[in-house]
């Protein structure tokens, strides 16, 4: 399987270039669209909070920083959940006609998410400078945390591909699922501590990673390093399982899609 991924890389790169140049050739603002949604969402919550429509006071960093970092990190996760299916669907017309490495679209999707992540990182560095957050060398670990989010999202996304290839319901449903998850994950509010609300934290593997990365970025200190490491390890194992699942199921799925 590793060998096939290696063979697929050349094609994946071309598909990645194709997607990017396609997306931005018909657009005037281009990459601005990557930055605008998280900033807009964050600003909205800052606004709601400052007018006391929401009442969030207990974050251990300035609330705007908390929200901005949270939404950006969430966005990275959400993009990586949707990327595999999107990339797969854009390649279906080719895959049902030409026998090519089936892993290539997934790799291309991940590459897009990584590009997206790098742009977001620039945004976040600007943000941290703006709020004059004191620098700590641990902050340099933050990209690792973001990668972990990409692993989580991609894993989930890969599991969605075979079913999503067959039924459109998955595409519709995953968007709604992510919107719900956004509110069920402590992105714009601090993690709840009293039962039963704390279930949101304990049952959701994304929380330790998102929370940990945010803390790394803003303060350089992680409150739950064990949870972070366990979740990351779990994520990597799940990713391998997901790739096997994908490999076995995709030929059958493609047949049903008109190959």
């Amino acid at each position: 399987m590793m060998r096939d991924l290696w063979i697929a890389r050349d094609l994946a790169w071309q598909l990645f270039i194709r997607e990017i140049s396609q997306r931005y050739r018909q657009s005037v603002f281009g990459f601005v669209w990557v930055v605008v949604p998280p900033v807009a969402t964050a600003l909205l919550f800052v606004f709601l909070n400052s007018y006391k429509i929401l009442n969030i006071t207990t974050t251990d960093m300035p609330y705007p920083v908390y929200v901005m970092l949270g939404t950006v990190l969430w966005q990275i996760f959400a993009e990586s959940v949707l990327a595999p299916l999107k990339a797969f669907q854009s390649c279906v017309p080719i895959m049902i006609k030409i026998n090519m490495p089936r892993e290539a679209p997934i790799l291309a999707g991940v590459a897009q998410v990584l590009l997206f992540m790098i742009i977001q990182m620039v945004l976040m560095v600007c943000l941290l400078l703006w709020f004059k957050v004191t620098f700590s060398p641990y902050m340099l670990l933050a990209p690792g945390g973001m990668l972990a989010l990409v692993v989580f999202g991609t894993t989930l996304g890969i599991f969605l591909v075979p079913l999503g290839g067959l039924y459109k319901d998955v595409t519709e449903g995953s968007g709604m699922f992510l919107r719900l998850m956004f509110f069920l994950t402590p992105v714009v509010y601090p993690p709840p501590r009293e039962w039963p609300w704390s279930l949101v934290v304990t049952l959701n593997p994304v929380v330790p990673v998102l929370q940990g990365t945010r803390e790394l970025m803003a303060t350089g200190v992680m409150t739950d390093p064990l949870g972070f490491v366990l979740a990351c390890a779990g994520g990597v194992v799940a990713l391998v399982v997901a790739l096997f699942f994908y490999r076995i199921s995709i030929p059958v799925v493609l047949e049903r899609m008109g190959a």
């Binding site: 396609q22 049902i96 030409i98 079913l163 067959l166 799925v253 047949e255």
Partner: protein
């Protein structure tokens, strides 16, 4: 090496489902079976049917196999099975070497990117490494011959131009096996001939080619063997001329009888046509290079003033008229015919046709401005057989022999 089998198809069967909803559900079940490590279901489930059944054949290096058959007979499905896009429900497909498939040209062209950018992507999709592409990029561009359109977005291309681009990329990937599915139909004549020529060259250099087409002329020109599919099964498999003849006789309208074109009956009806040799003895089949007498009995319905008779001879399955035999040329008188039965005899002193199956047609024109009086198709179909000791080139034999004088000095 020359006899190396590149494609081996053994007892292959594939089923499809008529209902989309059910097909998707079977997909889920099949994924489950694959994950559990179980084999495929070899029974038909509800709404399923066999698209391909019990096919066994092989293609060797340098061979061009044509696949013909009516729509929905499983031609494209077979190509997809060979290409590995579909996995057989039964049997086995074994492939040796790199497969270049032109199942649909330009699959994966992005409309808003330029032709040049699409070459990069298409090459990667087909598995050409970047070093290889750098080497043959000039050839690809030259063969596609798109001029300044190369840097225009593909959405501004005509379908023929897209086909050129796709074909050009595919043939330059140095495949061992080339699968071509009815893709040349959109190209113009010049390109089509260029493409056929190139496929022939590729086969000559040791590529195994499988060619699906409805254009029997192209199949005839290109292929050494032909596989005729019908409802997913073999109908015939063998040398090109034989199989094409079989295919055509299966699909000629109206079975074996004569066909009077509408309006013809008002002027005349052909009652019988028989073939004879010069002495008048009836012939079942004609020897190549011998004389042939066509004896036709017609029932004239109204007075025909100086009609001109013209026979057309057509090799079965090749949709060309190979020869005309008409009165004008012989400068004979054109007697008028009273209503009633008449016998018309035409003698061809030396029939130059090579062995094969031929069909006779008739058209009759009137005296005034050669106005068409009637047409009859399929008067008779007959075989031309080789005369003893005749030299025959078995493949690509041509259709006629010409008398010639040779001189050496």
């Amino acid at each position: 090496m020359a006899d190396e089998i590149l494609i081996q198809v053994e007892g292959v069967a594939k089923k499809f489902c008529r209902s989309l909803k059910r097909s998707l559900w079977y997909g889920i079940l099949d994924v489950g079976r694959e994950l559990a490590g179980q084999s495929r279901v070899d029974q038909l489930r509800k709404d399923e049917f066999w698209a391909i059944r019990d096919l066994t054949f092989q293609v060797r290096r340098g061979e061009i196999l044509g696949i013909i058959g009516p729509n929905g007979s499983g031609k494209t499905t077979l190509l997809r099975l060979i290409n590995g896009l579909l996995l057989p429900d039964m049997g086995q497909v074994t492939i040796r070497g790199r497969v270049g498939a032109l199942i649909q040209l330009g699959a994966g062209f992005s409309p808003i990117l330029s032709g040049r950018e699409n070459i990069d992507i298409n090459a990667a999709v087909l598995g050409i490494s970047r070093q290889e592409l750098a080497q043959c990029l000039d050839d690809i561009v030259a063969f596609a011959d798109l001029g300044e359109f190369l840097d225009a977005p593909v959405q501004s291309y005509s379908s023929g131009m897209r086909a050129r681009l796709g074909f050009s990329v595919a043939i330059h990937m140095r495949p061992d096996i080339l699968l071509v599915d009815e893709v040349l139909s959109v190209g113009d004549m010049v390109f089509r001939n260029k493409a056929l020529e190139r496929m022939y060259q590729l086969a000559h250099s040791g590529v195994a080619v499988v060619f699906v087409s409805h254009n029997l002329g192209q199949v005839d020109r290109l292929c050494s063997h032909v596989l005729y599919l019908r409802k997913g099964c073999f109908e015939a498999y063998g040398p090109t001329a034989e199989v094409i003849t079989r295919y055509v006789s299966d699909h000629l309208p109206g079975g074996t009888g004569m066909m009077h074109h509408p309006g013809t009956e008002a002027s005349f009806l052909v009652q019988s046509v028989t073939l004879h040799d010069v002495s008048g003895a009836a012939l079942e089949s004609v020897q190549s290079g011998q004389s042939l007498l066509i004896r036709m009995t017609i029932d004239v319905k109204k007075y025909l003033k100086s009609p001109m008779f013209c026979f057309m001879l057509e090799p079965v399955g090749r949709s060309i008229i190979l020869a005309y035999v008409h009165q004008e040329r012989e400068n004979v008188s054109r007697p008028s015919l009273e209503p009633g039965e008449h016998v018309v005899e035409t003698l061809i002193p030396k029939l130059p046709f090579l062995p094969g199956r031929y069909e006779l047609r008739l058209s009759v024109a009137g005296a005034i401005e050669s106005q068409l009086l009637g047409k009859v198709g399929k008067l008779i179909t007959f075989n031309v057989i080789p005369r003893p000791g005749q030299y025959i080139i078995t493949n690509d034999a041509g259709l006629v022999e010409l008398d010639a004088q040779w001189r050496f000095s």
